[in-house]
């Protein structure tokens, strides 16, 4: 039986970087590519800091960036550059499923709302700092209970909602609230992320 996805949200299985290796893993190839890209940007000026920063970024941890770079801003900058690149890596699908309900009007509050369920389909991996980004939100609609717009994740400027931790096999349920101008159709592409960057 076909379930409607169009007109509500389209899920893109782009589960992004986890910051701790004990959790769901970003592909190694992706992380290597991020570090390699960083290396290629290093030149003779502050070369040692650049290399240190790029290597530290492989750990995919803002805390590690600060520890390894010992307060050197150029080093930290390169390290965070790697983190941002890793953040845009894609997981192999299968870590989660997301189901979006139809957008409805709550007549008692006058608020447009949509229920979204995100299920951790793994049996062992905890998904921490889960959030989802509403890419390409339809014109005329704005997310009114989000946690901000993306600045580290590309594309930037898209609203997101933090979900928190989802244990293995568990389902998180979130209510999105929207404001609407006009009568244009509703829709967006959902991008689920983990980690500290948004």
């Amino acid at each position: 039986m076909r379930m409607l996805k169009h007109g509500s949200c389209l899920l893109v299985f782009a589960l992004l970087a986890a910051s701790v290796t004990s959790r769901a893993q970003v592909s190694v190839a992706c992380k290597n590519a991020a570090v390699d890209t960083c290396f290629r940007s290093c030149d003779v000026i502050l070369f040692d800091q650049c290399v240190t920063g790029c290597i530290s970024g492989y750990e995919d941890s803002p805390l590690k960036c600060k520890e390894e770079c010992a307060g050197l801003p150029f080093c930290e900058g390169k390290c965070f550059e790697v983190l941002r690149t890793i953040a845009n890596c894609s997981y192999v699908t299968g870590d989660l499923t997301a189901t979006c309900g139809a957008i409805v009007l709550n007549r008692s509050t006058g608020q447009w709302q949509q229920t979204v369920q995100i299920r951790n389909t793994t049996s062992t991996s905890r998904l921490e700092n889960v959030g989802f980004v509403l890419d390409s939100l339809a014109p005329g609609w704005t997310l009114s209970n989000g946690n901000g717009v993306t600045s580290d994740l590309t594309p930037t400027g898209n609203p997101y909602k933090n979900v928190g931790t989802i244990e293995p096999g568990a389902t998180a349920r979130v209510t999105l609230q929207f404001a609407r101008t006009g009568t244009l159709p509703f829709g967006y592409i959902i991008r689920v992320v983990t980690g500290n960057l948004r």
Partner: protein, 195 residues
């Protein structure tokens, strides 16, 4: 011979869930799969629209379908024109002349709207649970322009305001049965005349 009574075959008009789904959000038809108390010869149907825009008028088409995947063949369709609905209000609309349309007990009911006047924004209200008949509250039926499918609010309230009235279809003798009765009676009259 059974006496046919007109009654509610489905009634979901009691518990307003305070949520509405709108055609403008991306649906061309919105409805539900319902289980009537019996197959029916339908006389009337009530549903309830909501207008989230400015005062408006619109036309509405009611269509009955057989169950399929999830929607099958069309059974019948009826249109009302020039329905008026004020801004931010609910309006119960009656399709009064269904002409004894015969429908199965398990049936799809769907609505579309046309000619919505400027500024109007029309939707259907969710009520749940039904007091006569049954319907699964985990989904409603909608066409998003790509075909019918099950849709859901994920709120377990997904039953559209409906009151469906008619005659119990099981109480109507089969046409073949009626013919048989007349043949027997006619035969008996013939035999008596010959004697």
């Amino acid at each position: 011979m059974a006496v046919a009574c007109r009654a509610d075959l489905f009634n979901n008009t009691t518990a307003d869930q305070q949520f509405s789904v709108f055609y403008s959000t991306g649906f061309s038809q919105i409805g539900d799969q319902v289980q009537l108390s019996s197959p029916g010869l339908l006389t009337s149907l009530d549903t309830q629209f909501y207008n989230a825009g400015s005062d408006a008028s619109f036309d509405a088409t009611l269509t009955f379908y057989d169950i399929g995947g999830p929607v099958g063949s069309q059974i019948g369709a009826f249109t009302l024109t020039g329905i008026s609905i004020a801004s931010f209000t609910s309006q119960t609309v009656t399709f009064a002349n269904l002409g004894n349309l015969l429908v199965p007990a398990d049936v799809i009911v769907a609505f579309s709207v046309q000619n919505v006047s400027a500024g109007g924004d029309i939707g259907l209200n969710f009520f749940d649970p039904p007091t006569t008949g049954t319907s699964d509250a985990s989904y409603f039926i909608a066409d998003d322009g790509t075909g019918f499918a099950q849709a859901s609010t994920l709120l377990d309230i997904d039953n559209v305001y409906l009151r469906i009235s008619g005659t119990d279809g099981n109480a109507v003798p089969e046409p073949s049965s009626a013919v048989l009765v007349f043949v027997v009676l006619g035969g008996m009259a013939f035999v008596r005349k010959r004697r």
